[in-house]
Subunit: 397 residues, 2 copies
């Protein structure tokens, strides 16, 4: 593979204009673009970035690509209010639109790639109606993208484990089929027995040496109790560093003392969080200071749950920053860190970053600085995955 | 002026593909695009819209174009938390960046035009430090746009009336200089004496036959009391239909009974509201059912207050709809109504709409339906103002 030389970038975290050389899929050199100091372009394909901001590949830490209708018909949402209604609506109408559909999945993944996402974690619906078919559908979509994006899967009991008998066995089957993470959903508020649900989730994880990523929409006292139950099991079973809580609304609602206690436990046990930038905003600055990792995700995009989103994680980052009331550059960059380094830590990506030796997963986006790139999130100028240019100006290469 | 014929539009509110003919700045005919039924193109300049959604010109009901830094340097925001700090920060640093600046104002207005805004109400800072200079700066920017956008001004006491002695006289001067609306700001929470502030605002309005548009960020009991004081004065002084409350956070917080009482009063006195799509979301569906008009605005864009926004009111509409939790098409279209018909009612625009005889202020935006146009808000295909094409594909014509 010919080396790639990216000239005249605003490399995130580095002053001045920068050149970056890539060899064998990794960053091989970084240096100033200034005349006389610039990296030699000998033997390299050269791309002039014209001062675009250069960041590492976006990491979508919470996706549901199996559910998408992207590229398909417009389906007006008619679900009633509330979580249970949305779950039933999605389950009951998906067949009508042929969901999961590898064409839709490919179309959404394509949008994710051209907007700079190089890695994603996607929760895949597992239930008696559909079995583990969604695992195969997502894998097919990912294969069609031919290495332009890595997607790891979560065996996700969208319709419950206890509420949907047979699901535990199907999750077991998905894990045997290579899925690496066990999902869960509102153990008390939706599935009706917090302890039993969580015991099943942790048992499946232990059986397969899998990690855990649990949807927790439950707020208030119930949500806090579920946090405590997860924390208790994580500690007792030696699962530190292997658990993520997604949405985690209870932490947004909680009073200061409870929040501080939970955050201390999360930090101790390296339990990560993900947000999809709803109105309930996780206290990112506080989490960061405590050493708790938060990732950002696109959640469901244009599916039977939600018509929002396009797959562009920078747009989602802007939504998060705005709803968080961030206006300082350092805060907006903290949101961008969640969309990049945060997700990378949750997904345990090796060699992720902008240093020499790191994997060459990179996104160039116009802007005078990272804040402006987030706020305007124009079409990505260039996306590089494993040292290969995979997208340019909003289209696959 | 040659007639203009727009072919093959998805006209908002009408089934099927539609042709629309424009003569003398007004919509002169509307009919199906179907073969054999299409409007004659004789004597007209024809634009094929390829099935783009066609909506009336966007009405930005709450802007602050005088404050913008658009097109200028990137200024990292370093204001402390809270409203008073933001106000002081904006006042103390504007001179450093030459704000208000007709070049910046023109750059932002250009973005507004190319994204389909045909009318705006802009609150213009009036205070002893700057006098009424911002009125002239905005007027200069608007003049440079040469009829592509109409902007009406509000004499806005950003730094208070009581808190900033001399401001009342300057507002009086602005109103003598042709400004048509009197502004106000948190009469109790910021300016320190709710009755005195409101009495000054209403007295200025009565003196000049002006309308009123008051910023009300105050929440809780104070905010509710201020609502009541505004309602009381509106009723006592015969100001029904001439008052707008902007932001109106107290209505978001209020309990059900208080909210219902306030909404009934707003409806009776035709007091309008504006929102700029923050996390605190006005109960738009409830307002609409009660007959209360809400408009949407871009607020400050890329200024010393906020780095957010681009001037695109469809993006703001998407933010409102998402934070409101809207997922049904009818709800998303209700948000779009606020950004169009709602603002038009607040600004009392004559002949606004999509019927024959209405002013030909129109925006074509790609999408299979209005919801999709709002959610994706791609570059506007065509913008027509008073029957003239003023922008195409994101650039001025």
């Amino acid at each position: 593979m010919t080396d790639l030389l990216l000239r005249d970038a605003r490399l995130w975290g580095r002053e001045g204009r920068t050149d970056l050389r890539i060899a064998e899929g990794r960053i091989s050199a970084v240096g100033p673009s200034a005349a006389g100091e610039a990296l030699a372009d000998e033997g390299a394909h050269v791309e002039d970035l014209d001062g675009a901001v250069l960041i590492p590949g976006l990491v979508d830490a919470h996706a549901h690509v199996d559910k998408t209708l992207w590229g398909g018909p417009w389906v007006p949402r008619t679900a009633g209010p509330g979580l249970a209604a949305a779950i039933a609506y999605g389950r009951d109408r998906r067949a009508e639109f042929g969901v999961p559909n590898p064409d839709f999945i490919t179309a959404l993944l394509t949008n994710m790639v051209v907007s700079g996402t190089t890695h994603a974690r996607s929760h895949v619906d597992i239930d008696p109606g559909i079995g583990i078919g969604a695992v195969e559908a997502v894998r097919e979509g990912v294969e069609r993208l031919a290495g332009r994006i890595d997607v790891e899967l979560v065996a996700f009991p969208q319709t419950g484990i206890l509420a949907s008998p047979g699901t535990a066995d199907l999750m077991d089957e998905a894990l045997r089929a290579g899925v690496k993470t066990v999902g869960g959903i509102d153990p008390g508020g939706f599935d009706g027995d917090a302890e039993a649900h969580l015991d099943l989730v942790f048992a499946l994880a232990e059986k397969h040496g899998a990690e855990i990523d649990i949807h927790l929409h439950d707020g208030g006292d119930l949500g806090v109790r579920e946090f405590d139950l997860i924390i208790e099991r994580t500690r007792a079973l030696g699962y530190a560093g292997k658990v993520v809580i997604s949405h985690a609304f209870a932490l947004c609602d909680a009073g200061e003392a409870v929040r501080a206690r939970l955050i201390a436990d999360l930090a101790e046990l390296r339990i990560g969080l993900t947000s999809v930038a709803p109105r309930q905003i996780l206290p990112l600055r506080e989490l960061d200071e405590a050493g708790v990792t938060m990732g950002l995700g696109n959640d469901g995009v244009r599916d039977l749950w939600s018509p929002y989103g396009t797959g562009d994680l920078l747009q989602r980052t802007q939504w998060f920053a705005r709803n968080a009331g961030f206006s300082r550059d350092a805060d907006i960059e903290l949101a961008l860190e969640a969309a990049t380094f945060g997700g990378a830590r949750l997904l345990k990506l090796d060699g992720y970053g902008l240093a020499v030796g790191d994997a060459a997963d990179l996104v160039a986006v116009a802007g005078r600085n990272p804040s402006e790139a987030v706020l305007e999130h124009p079409e990505r100028r260039l996306v590089v995955k494993n040292g290969r240019i995979v997208a340019r100006e909003g289209a696959l290469v």
